[in-house]
């Protein structure tokens, strides 16, 4: 296994469209890094450039310290699992898994041993002679994985491998993947649009939007210290609550003001604001679990009206109308918070998020971990 480095990688199509604008990521040996983002953000394109299925328009790709831009796919030391699995329908499971080995003229005995190893690792014992059409979705996914793993790749590339599975199976496979990662200590690059998946699996997450890298960091970092509004809103479910307004000063304090809300920002945020906030228009963000909700008026809080309560079993979420926005606030399960009442929300002071509000494009401030 080896590490991988993207230096100012760019993908530009003949018609001028830039799928990936300027991407630099340093991935260490054995690390599990996810590329996450909405459709069209460039994550799959990046993966395909690493795999050698797309030409790299600009920048350098280094696999294990060797320049790989013009190296053929098969010589890059990568193995890829496709979103559609791309299993060969006319070959048995064993033949599918052993295909790469056969092509590279690996000795038959070694080949069979490796196939056995893969079948065992992925819980596919006894299915070696079946055809892909006879397998379930989860089994097929594992065959695709096995096919890649037997090649002992330096880097394992996974393109939305779980998106074709049902929810329950997806959760199960997530655990499998984590287990395999731990066992094999492989370097893995994982593309997904599902932020929960990325959060549970990765050592680090790289969030992309419109071909730009929004932020890269550990799941905790991304969650607790999102670099910009996009990342803050993308990670976490239910998503972060946002209020758009202006930053003002009153009595030596920073104050957040908009039509419906006036909230005094804690003193602890002073240094953050000085360094990071460069304009008057700002966005204030609070996660549902960082808000306390009460019927009694608060001295420094956010007013709203409770609309409905959603019961999830482990948590309850109250939908609160704040001005024109709908906030989501977490409460104790079974608390049965009354609805249609005037409520007061108090955010935890150390869990507030404040961003510059650039309306046209989200702030492309990137934080390196």
């Amino acid at each position: 296994m080896a590490g991988l480095r993207l230096e100012h990688i760019q993908k530009k199509y003949p018609n001028g469209f830039e799928a990936v604008k300027d991407l630099s990521i340093d991935i260490k040996d054995g690390e599990f890094v996810s590329l996450v983002g909405p459709s069209g953000c460039g994550k799959s394109t990046t993966l395909r450039m690493i795999a050698g299925l797309e030409d790299i328009s600009g920048g350098k790709l280094l696999i294990g310290d060797k320049l790989a831009n013009n190296v053929a796919s098969k010589d890059r030391g990568i193995a890829m699992v496709f979103q559609s699995y791309a299993l060969f329908p006319h070959m048995s499971v064993a033949a599918n898994i052993g295909f790469g080995l056969k092509i590279n003229k690996v000795d038959k005995k070694i080949r069979n041993d490796k196939i056995e190893w893969a079948l065992d690792l992925l819980d596919l014992n006894g299915l070696g002679d079946r055809k892909p059409s006879e397998l379930s979705g989860g089994q097929r996914q594992r065959v695709a994985l096995g096919r890649a793993l037997v090649l002992d790749p330096e880097v394992l590339l996974l393109d939305e491998p779980l998106s074709n599975l049902d929810a329950k199976l997806r959760v199960k496979m997530r655990t499998e993947l984590k287990r395999i990662h731990k066992q094999l200590k492989s370097t893995i690059i994982y593309v997904t649009h599902d932020q929960a998946e990325a959060m549970t699996l990765s050592d680090r997450i790289a969030i992309m939007k419109n071909g730009d890298l929004m932020q890269i960091g550990s799941p905790t970092e991304i969650y607790t210290r999102p670099a910009n509004r996009f990342v803050a809103g993308f990670i976490g479910s239910p998503p972060m609550n946002f209020l758009e307004g202006e930053l003002a000063h009153e009595n030596g304090n920073n104050v957040f003001i908009n039509k419906d809300v006036k909230y005094v920002l804690p003193a602890s945020m002073k240094s953050y604001i000085e360094t990071n906030i460069s304009q008057k228009e700002v966005v204030l963000g609070m996660r549902p679990e960082d808000l306390a909700i009460s019927l009694t008026p608060a001295t420094n809080g956010i007013e709203g009206v409770s609309i409905i309560t959603e019961t999830l079993g482990s948590d309850d979420f109250v939908a609160v109308e704040v001005g024109k926005k709908l906030f989501s606030v977490r409460t104790e399960p079974g608390s049965n918070f009354p609805t249609d009442k005037k409520v007061y929300l108090t955010p935890a002071e150390d869990k507030l998020h404040l961003f510059n509000n650039d309306n046209a494009t989200d702030d492309a401030k990137v934080r390196f971990a």
Partner: protein, 306 residues
């Protein structure tokens, strides 16, 4: 009557009434085909069992026609020629169809034009193609001159003028050439459909695992193309048995079965013999097709092991 039987009868009548319009629309076309189908089957069987002299029916029913055929050298020669024609032209068509389909399957500028060009042989009336070949390969035609080195830019391959049309092998070869040229677009279309149904990601996966183009072709394209290839082989071989025009014009002295039918029917005014050959031809087609299907299935099973 039993209650259930009465119910069945009633529902049958009701079905007829409910769908009267549909039945009404189906009947004319269906009857037309059925009528001719019956005419063809009955007449051809009856004709084959009748001997004719001077265009008039003589004795019927008799298997004399068939007996005469078994003794006829001409018939045996025609049969072997037809057989060779089938087993040579069909695989050739498969190859040319595959090559053209693979060319057209790649995306490049002007692909539509190339595709239209490849379809042209199908558009041209067969009789026209045949006449062109006749011109090219007859005495003094381009190809004969070409081979003799009459054109300064091409070396002489033979030293005397080859008469393509009076040499059995060459004339048959010409017929095969014409048929393959003309029918390649059909194979191309069937194989193209098969090629396009192969998912691109299969090739990409193989590529990342180290397979080059040749390997990709051997391990992915061909196995997944087997159904299309089978279609081509079966359909085109049936057509080859039925072939008439190419050999009729290009190799009239070396008749194949179809040409022989014409000879007996139009020239010798003996519909009986013609029909007998026709019956045998139909039976041959059925037998051959069944055999081919069996063979293809065996091959398919074999390949799956790989």
């Amino acid at each position: 009557m039993d209650l259930s039987v009465r119910e069945e009868k009633r529902s049958f009548v009701e079905t007829i009434k409910k769908n009267s319009f549909l039945i009404f629309t189906l009947i004319p076309g269906f009857l037309y085909i059925l009528a001719f189908f019956l005419i063809i089957v009955f007449f051809i069987v009856q004709m084959s069992l009748t001997t004719y002299v001077g265009g008039m029916a003589e004795a019927s029913p008799t298997i004399q026609n068939f007996l005469d055929l078994t003794n006829s050298e001409e018939f045996k020669d025609a049969f072997s020629r037809t057989f060779m024609f089938v087993i040579i032209s069909t695989p050739l068509q498969l190859i040319t169809g595959l090559v053209t389909a693979m060319i057209v399957n790649k995306s490049f500028k002007g692909r539509g034009i190339v595709r239209s060009i490849f379809l042209l042989p199908l558009a041209i009336p067969t009789i026209v193609t045949t006449s062109t070949l006749l011109l090219l390969f007859s005495k003094g035609g381009h190809i004969t001159s070409l081979l003799m080195g009459d054109y300064s830019w091409f070396p002489a391959i033979v030293d005397h003028e080859i008469s393509f049309l009076s040499n059995e092998t060459l004339a048959m070869g010409l017929s095969i050439l014409g048929k393959v040229w003309r029918d390649t677009p059909i194979s191309m279309l069937i194989l193209l459909a098969g090629l396009q149904s192969i998912d691109e990601s299969q090739y990409e996966a193989a590529k990342t695992m180290g397979a080059n183009s040749v390997r990709q072709f051997m391990y992915i394209t061909i196995p997944l193309l087997i159904p299309a290839i089978s279609s081509v082989l079966v359909l085109r071989s049936i057509e080859a048995w039925k072939e008439f025009i190419f050999p009729y014009i290009l190799a009239p002295s070396y008749p194949i079965l179809g040409v022989l039918i014409e000879k007996y029917f139009v020239q010798l005014n003996n519909p009986g013999m013609a029909a007998a050959i026709g019956v045998i031809l139909i039976i041959l087609i059925v037998i051959f097709t069944l055999f081919l299907n069996w063979l293809l299935k065996k091959v398919n099973d074999l390949l799956v092991r790989v």
